[in-house]
Amino acid sequence: MKKNVYEPRYRYHAGTVAWILHRLSGLALILYLAMHIWVIHHLNRPLDFNNIMAFLNEPVFKILELGLWGVIVYHALNGLRIIMIDFFTRKGAAVQKQMFWGAVVLGVVVFAAGAIPFVGTMIK
């Protein structure tokens, strides 16, 4: 039998979803960090930097920035959930589902708190 593959037929639950989203948001953050460093390294050439910044002011990057905020909020809050499991072990693991949904609800609130003013300045 073929081995070492993900079993997509296995039933999903809060824990699986939390893990997959955590992995994907982690990858997205690594990608962002690489791009960020690439942009910042142009600082010693002001003309290039200004050109890049002008390019990054396009609406598509504003929307991506909003997505970045969502990714950061999820990764941070679910990271806290995992820390809770690590330090409160059995007690933490027993309430992992509640903590996941708590992170989702809190995440939506924190995301909105940042996104609403951001969109406000974008429309202006």
Partner: protein
């Protein structure tokens, strides 16, 4: 009531790869999946192979994947499953011997790696080794494991890496590391600190969902992780 089963069949002597076969069984909502499998084997298809023994959720033989989730066939009742066709597959990611019977050799090999028995270097007492009720309470949950392999086979870390010790072996390691009568905790902690040990656990919680004995497996593994980073070895 009539229930349709879709069961994965595979005979290595004739088939090149597993295929699904449908059976319809007249049964009762309170019947277990195992009762239906028995019915199929006795009255419809005598070639259908699966492991079963006690039928009372204590031997751990009939662990299989029912509707995408691992568990014991004898403990999974028809009325608790979603209406419609019930899909039965062998435990994922173990080599298949025939139909629903999988090869558990590697599973047991990993289990024996964590030294799954009591060790005490001290002098042998005249009577039994004493343990206080509160000391027993720490390990009580982990002693209820029946070694059905549902957890290990549900773990994505195990799917990705055959050599990962897996939840079942780690629960057994926990059971003896925190046993106050045992004196080889350090040896076991070193074993689970290996690159294929506890830190392969990414808190996905498939094991907790699968465990037919409702052991908080991920919590136990987290406790082992905490012990590893807080004890000097």
């Amino acid at each position: 009531m009539k229930v349709t089963f879709k069961i994965q069949k595979f005979n290595p002597e004739n088939d090149t790869k597993p295929y699904m076969k449908e059976y319809t069984v007249a049964t009762h909502p309170n019947a277990a999946v195992l009762d239906c499998l028995n019915d199929i084997r006795w009255h419809q298809d005598e070639t259908l192979s699966f492991r079963r023994s006690c039928g009372h959720a204590i031997c751990g033989s009939c662990a299989m994947n029912v509707n995408g989730k691992n568990g014991l066939a004898c403990q999974t009742l028809i009325k608790d499953l979603k209406q419609g066709v019930i899909t039965v597959r062998p435990l994922p990611s173990f080599p298949i011997i025939k139909d629903l019977v999988v090869d558990l050799d590697k599973f047991y090999a990993k289990f024996s790696k964590v030294i799954p028995y009591l060790n005490n270097d001290g002098p042998v007492p005249e009577k039994e080794r004493i343990q206080l009720p509160e000391q027993q309470k720490i390990i009580e949950e982990s002693t209820t494991c029946i070694l059905c392999a549902s957890c290990t086979s549900s773990c994505p870390s195990f799917w990705a890496d055959d050599d990962y010790l897996g939840p079942a072996a780690l629960v057994k390691a926990f059971r003896y590391v925190f046993d106050t009568r045992d004196t080889t905790a350090e040896k076991r902690l070193k074993m689970v600190n290996d690159k294929n040990g506890v830190f392969r656990c990414h808190t996905i919680f498939n094991c907790n969902e699968a465990c037919p004995k409702d052991i908080n497996i991920t919590g136990h593994i987290a406790e082992l992780k905490l012990a590893l980073v807080t004890t000097k070895m």
